[in-house]
Amino acid sequence: VQDPDGPLVQRAQKGDRWAFEQLVARYQDRMFTLAARVIGRDSVADAGDAVQEAFIRAWLALPNFRRGARFSTWLYRICVNAAHDQRAKGQRVEPSDEIELADPQDAFARHELAGELQQALDGLEEEYRVAVVLYDVLGCSYAEIAELTEVAEGTVKSRIFRGRSRLAEILGTSREPD
């Protein structure tokens, strides 16, 4: 299957900044959602830092990107690693002036990340959290998640199953079977 990002990726690999900016525009919201949901807690700034770090890493590593690989999978892997690093650093205390000057997008993200869903996601082990966010929120396939988390597809399915189940348990919700 041809990677839909292929032409832009090839140009960006040769140093074309415009092409890379188009890729940033295409993936910035998905990357931010991924980072914010994986880092959790309620730090929008940490998620923004992780996305910024991920795009810089991607830009620098792009010349080594293997042709034939799927760009989105590669980018999401960089994002998950950056989010993991950011989470390990510990939560940043956001000064009040940052909150007051926040953009509407940040205000909405802050509201979402303070909600019940994020609290429940925070209660999951990271491997489960990453799997359910990639599959159910970003719509990645089992094969893509297996590649970017470097585990077998069966393990991915098991993590999605357990992650969802645990999430619903924390939220106290369930759906009747068919």
Binding site: G15, R17, F20, E21, V24, A25, Q28, D29, R30, M31, F32, T33, A36, R37, A45, A47, G48, D49, V51, Q52, F55, I56, W59, L60, P63, V93, P95, D97, E98, A102, D103, Q105, D106, F108, A109, E112, L113, L117, A120, V132, D136, V137, K157, S158, I160, F161, R162, G163, R164, S165, L167, A168, E169, L171, T173, S174, R175, E176, P177, D178
Partner: protein, 209 residues
Amino acid sequence: MVTGTHPEDIDLLDYVEGDLPAARRAELHAHLDSCAKCAEHVARVRAGRDVLRESQALELSPRRREAILASLPGRPARRRRFSVSPKRALAVLVPVAAVGAVVAAIVTTGDFSTTGSGGGGQAAATAGGEAAKTTREAAGGGTTPTTFGQDMLLAKGSPEDVVARLRRKGIDARVVGDHVEVHGATRAEVDRALGRSGRTGAVRIVIVK
């Protein structure tokens, strides 16, 4: 596959996702009708899926996007492998061979005057220049400036503000074009000097080692 009397997680996920063949789906359906534990498990998995899929996508702020684009560092020129196409090889080798032939003729005839070998000399100079150019290209030597190997971070405010804040902490900083250059300090020292609130923004700080 069934472990003991209960289906495995993977099988149940395929059931929930509708990825099973009809016959297997009917088997699991029958099992769920008679097994409250598995039925409850499947209900939770469905609920978890629905909550996740109904969640809103988050949007990156325009300010952060600008900061990302402003912070992309220069990239080192790619080292090109030394490979010469047949056409290019001929372009280089033919003049070299011509020079060789002229030199051989001079040695043979004992004619050391420059007048007779003008054409060959020109060809040699051209070939030499071409070869030197090819070598430079093969070595990856370009004029593209690079910040690779330099440390870089971001700060809020204007470049002048950032310089003033760093200098107050005794760090040698100066505005260079649209960014700030720091000399004789480590990333950690700059990070400490800026404090927590100063670590994000659109001003690029390049630490020159």
